[in-house]
Symmetry: C3
Subunit: 304 residues, 3 copies
């Protein structure tokens, strides 16, 4: 585990899809130290997430800056949720753009280090945080736009799919998709539901079975993203697009969004505990742990 961790410390977003399939957060072990919890809660919000809120437009931009690849660790997920909740409660904030400050990657997805060699209790806590992130984003009253300025596999793809609109950098080196099967793990039903709502049943069936990572052009073609622009224009385009959405009366838009998404949200909300248990039971299996371990080894060797 220790060597795997060290490998991860050096992990940078790769140019190949494989490398960014799952991810590990740079300094996970250190950050888990209980003594630092209280202090980190606030400081990490500013360290790993930078929120620029423009009071005049009512639009916030959330920059994910958790090196090296914005892995969705338990800690980072918690920070993201706290930041989102604050904005959600601020009536003057009507729109949110989510983007990455890390080069070449939007988010590399769920942090493998929160699933590998961890206690069932830790895995359960981690999974609750993943659920929480999805529930909050998919059900947000704000207009949410994903400015996908880099690769976005697995949990990164999920995060972008929770938004109302997805703009991706037109760089063929980037990819996006739910590639869980390639690692021997399975996207849970609400990942699947979110993708079906986005690209339909058939495209989802093939994407999930094959763990497909799509190039920006392919992602646009199947509707996984809504628009491609030059890398430099992703954030600007997101802001311009936001203006169009802000023209719609909030109340009517929110009710409409809720009507579209509520059935999918209710399905998880009614089954959170069972879903946590399923995840913990699956992820702690010897065979699955072995798969994850081999994957970490592969990452390590790649970086050596």
């Amino acid at each position: 585990m220790k060597m795997a961790l060290r490998a991860c410390l050096r992990t940078k977003p790769g140019l190949t899809g494989l490398l960014s399939q799952l991810s590990c957060s740079g300094h996970a072990a250190a950050r888990r130290a209980p003594a630092l919890v209280a202090q980190r809660s606030s400081s990490s919000t500013s360290q790993k997430i930078k929120v620029d809120f423009d009071q005049s437009s009512g639009v916030a931009v959330m920059h994910m800056q958790s090196p090296p690849v914005n892995s969705l660790s338990l800690e980072f997920l918690t920070d993201v949720c706290i930041a989102l909740e604050k904005l959600e409660m601020d009536k003057s904030c009507r729109g949110l753009v989510v983007t990455s400050s890390q080069p070449k990657v939007f988010s590399a997805g769920l942090d493998i280090l929160d699933m590998y060699g961890k206690s069932p209790e830790h895995c359960a806590e981690f999974w609750k945080a993943v659920q929480e992130m999805w529930l909050k984003f998919y059900g947000s009253n704000m207009i949410t736009i994903a400015a996908v300025n880099g690769s976005s596999p697995a949990g990164g793809c999920l995060l972008s799919m929770t938004c109302d609109y997805r703009i991706m950098a037109d760089n063929p080196r980037y990819s996006i998709g739910l590639n869980e099967t390639k690692l021997g793990i399975v996207a849970p039903f609400w990942f699947k539901d979110t993708m079906v709502n986005t690209v339909g049943h058939r495209a989802t069936e093939m994407a999930l079975q094959l763990g497909l990572l799509y190039s920006p052009a392919e992602a646009l073609k199947i509707g996984l993203v809504d628009q491609l622009v030059h890398e430099d224009q992703v954030l600007t385009t997101a802001t311009e697009t936001m203006t169009k959405w802000l023209a719609i009366p909030d109340h009517a838009r929110q009710l409409t969004k809720s009507m579209m998404r509520k059935p999918t949200i209710d399905k998880l909300a009614a089954n959170r505990e069972a879903d946590v248990n399923n995840f913990v039971k699956f992820i702690t299996k010897d065979s699955i742990q072995k798969s994850l371990g081999m994957y970490l080894e592969m990452l390590k060797r790649r970086k050596a």
Copy 2:
């Protein structure tokens, strides 16, 4: 209200999308006079709806001719339903083409004057008529083809979506879509269900949140209409298309149509009263009435 009414009397289908977003029926106040009800019931059927039934082909053409913009008022909806019911009961009538006799507009949608400044009772009666129209058209045993020869926002779009096939005039000045949110109101769940059945979940989510009105070319691309032809050819093409559909044995086609649509129809049929209550509660809110009032003022100023 009086000035708004006068403004409406002069309303013509505009070339901009906004003007045709919702509509008001020319002489609503006069037509509401109770003393005229009995007489109108039959005469208006011939005045506002002209049905040409060709016994030899088994195909009827329903021309909507309610000036200026075929607004779906309580009265007009009632007439439409009566006309449809007659055809439905006539075993020799196998197909129905729905089209407009008004220039530039198919139908401008639900009549705003039946929702603005009206008693809850009136609003409830109006909404039941909207439901009735949808239930009858979406569940029709006949082959129904919409010959969309003009703009078709909101309720007009809904009417066309209830048909088995949609042919639209290829005039970029026309538009079609469920644009309710732009007025601060919300398309009910069965409008949404009909659109999801037509263009899928994702396109519906974006269309409804943004209240999008699509050009004919855009509508074709997302599948909101099935075919574009020159303005002069809409009705002819509808008749030709009907021939193809008439080649299918009625019984098998009807059972198949019912299998596809029954779950969606049953959902409203089982919840009509709750849906009426929701509508009345929503539409009679001060904030919503104010929105509608402002919209009527805008129409008035435009026409001044």
Copy 3:
């Protein structure tokens, strides 16, 4: 009936869609002779279905070779299910390619001779076999690829839709689709569900109402098949494609496939008896039998 049978004996896959809409199996009457049942069970497996299993790759190829057009008769369906079951139980078999050894046709669909002039008991037994085929293929743990090297109407289309991937010969003379309504019969709900899962609600609604048979190019456009290749390359491409699918860990892929398909499978599994009763009640109606009889006469005249 006898003449119709003789006509069928000479039936070859036609170049027109109509001829291959439904089908009749060459020597049905003879094969039904009870005395031959036991003997046939094993021999027909080798005669009408040839399975090549490559132990090294873990991939089996099922060649349907039931002349003239791979009609899905009660007997052939039984053989197909037995062959599939054997492969399913063989842990070393991970992938299955289904293809046809008959020229110009993949499968002409359900055998009309098992529905025409038969006892309700026979019809019920036949329908159970159709259900069984669908349940086994749609729920298969193996990777299933349809190498559609010829026309594939009705039940033939259903069989190909149960697979994970469909490669079709790019020959405009071939067609694919659920064309039941053209014969006055109705595709049952699970045929419909399978098609909705493949091409979406709207395309299914139109396809089923009109009984559309699509050219390969049209089928690709709506997503009814996934890939077109030259006639000579169908099987080779299937094998190459299989390699891509084999790269995914079986366990994760199987769980994912089950997650996508289980709700649809459960729906029939919970309603098999009612579905059999519906079918028998419908197919034994005088009007339907008359339709089928006329269709058989037409086939006979065509071949005279």
